[in-house]
């Protein structure tokens, strides 16, 4: 059972076969019967498999609890791949990267915010473009 909720809404609640989570220190895959685990999530696409199909959700940080029969993801924000406009995500990423390049000259940059905007734009784009068949991720 995978459950993804954000403060605004419930994004997913369904029975799935496998979940890959963007943990703070790297991706990890979860299969049913996993030992209990509690972790903070980074920004990135969450991938879950249901039958033969993969689905993608862009997750913007949060927490995840893994229990043998259930994965609960409390995301700060999350979007399913079919809700993401890939063209816009690409444009956002380009803009965020430009801002990142520009701010390296500026000593009082809010690095956290800039890096976060790059990461979340990338997460959205990745989720959107892999929303189709299976992925070869480049990160």
């Amino acid at each position: 059972m995978l459950e993804v909720v954000t403060p605004e809404r419930e994004v997913v609640r369904e029975s799935v076969a496998e979940v890959q989570l963007p943990g703070l220190s790297g991706y990890f895959g979860i299969l049913p019967g996993h030992t209990p685990l509690l972790t903070e999530l980074g920004i990135g696409p969450l991938i879950y498999r249901k039958g033969a199909e993969n689905a993608f959700i862009a997750v913007m940080g949060g927490f995840a609890e893994v229990l043998p029969e259930r994965v609960t993801v409390l995301a700060a924000a999350a979007e399913r791949s079919e809700e993401i406009d890939a063209a816009r995500a690409r444009a956002d990423l380009a803009e965020a990267e430009k801002k990142l390049a520009a701010s390296s000259a500026d000593p009082n940059t809010d690095w956290d915010a800039v890096l976060k905007s790059v990461a979340s734009a990338r997460a959205r784009l990745e989720a959107a473009s892999h929303g189709a068949p299976i992925a070869n991720r480049e990160t």
Partner: protein, 293 residues
């Protein structure tokens, strides 16, 4: 006996009142829709995070984080949520009554309160209980920034061990016609909220297995638990906002109906008075004519 003119004036005044109550009803209805959406949207996350922290509390020792630490309940903090304005039936009165009840029940534990909303603040200022903080204009439309501020206050009090447990009382939105007055325990986080049989069964299988942690637990809980608290307070405020609009809508609806009934009665009375006057005049004319012949 009032003259026709007197009654007419009263009717006009009741009509004015009716117009106002009707307008307030429509305003409340419009606001209710949005507030209700917000309250409903806040529920799944609040439920999930609450389940998560409780399941976590089951698996880690209370020493993992200050907010998990159980202490003897020597001092209690109560958060109490009312509306900002009146004219919403018993909505505010219910909260005030429940708050006072709670304080009296726990008077041995030296209760202190944080008031959220103008109505409860005004009511509590007249009382002898200790108010630690007052927040007004937070309940109409809860804002994450204000809620974060409240959360910080509560966390600080708890971590400094100035209070040993924290409760919240608020109106939960049940339906447009009914509010559900709720009292919930926020802190310490208790490892047992088994609500459904299904969950209880699931739990018996899951229990007692320790967590794997990706990060140091202290760090993780340091971020997770304040978030939990914030979400719960936010949810209480969102529920209360929706419940308040619902209560106001119902109250104004019945006020409008009462006004209509009153107008009907007054109109009937006015017609009777007019008829009586006409009858009286006819009698006068007839008896005048009779005496003339």
């Amino acid at each position: 006996m009032p003259t026709q003119l007197d009654i007419k004036r009263r009717i006009r005044s009741v009509k004015n009142t009716q117009q106002i109550t009707r307008a307030m009803k429509f305003v409340a209805a419009a606001r209710l829709r949005r507030a209700q959406e917000r309250a409903f949207a806040a529920r799944p996350y609040a439920r999930a995070i609450s389940r998560l922290v409780r399941s976590a509390a089951l698996r880690v020792p209370g020493s993992a984080h200050a907010l998990l630490r159980q202490r003897e309940e020597k001092r209690i903090l109560l958060l109490t949520v009312s509306g900002e304005r009146g004219l919403c039936g018993a909505f505010n009165a219910n909260v005030i009554r429940r708050t006072l009840e709670f304080l009296r029940e726990h008077s041995a534990q030296n209760p202190a309160i944080i008031v959220l909303g103008r109505k409860i603040r005004d009511a509590m200022r007249k009382q002898r209980w200790k108010i630690v903080a007052e927040h007004v204009d937070v309940t109409a439309r809860p804002e994450p920034a204000r809620v974060a501020e409240i959360t910080k206050e509560v966390t600080a009090l708890y971590e400094r061990e100035e209070v040993d447990s924290v409760y919240i009382v608020f109106n939960e939105f049940k339906s447009v016609l009914a509010q559900n007055l709720k009292l919930e325990k926020l802190l310490p986080i208790e490892p047992d909220p088994t609500t459904t049989i299904e969950e209880a069964q699931a739990r018996s299988k899951e229990t007692a297995v320790d967590y794997l942690f990706e990060q140091p637990p202290a760090e993780l809980f340091g971020r997770l638990l304040p978030r939990y608290l914030q979400v719960q307070i936010f949810r209480a405020l969102a529920e209360s906002a929706a419940a308040e609009h619902a209560a106001r809508m119902t109250a104004m609806d019945s006020a409008t109906n009462n006004a209509r009934e009153l107008i009907d009665q007054l109109t009937l009375y006015m017609n009777k008075v007019r008829q009586a006057a006409i009858t009286k005049e006819i009698i006068e004319v007839v008896s005048g004519a009779a005496s003339a012949t």
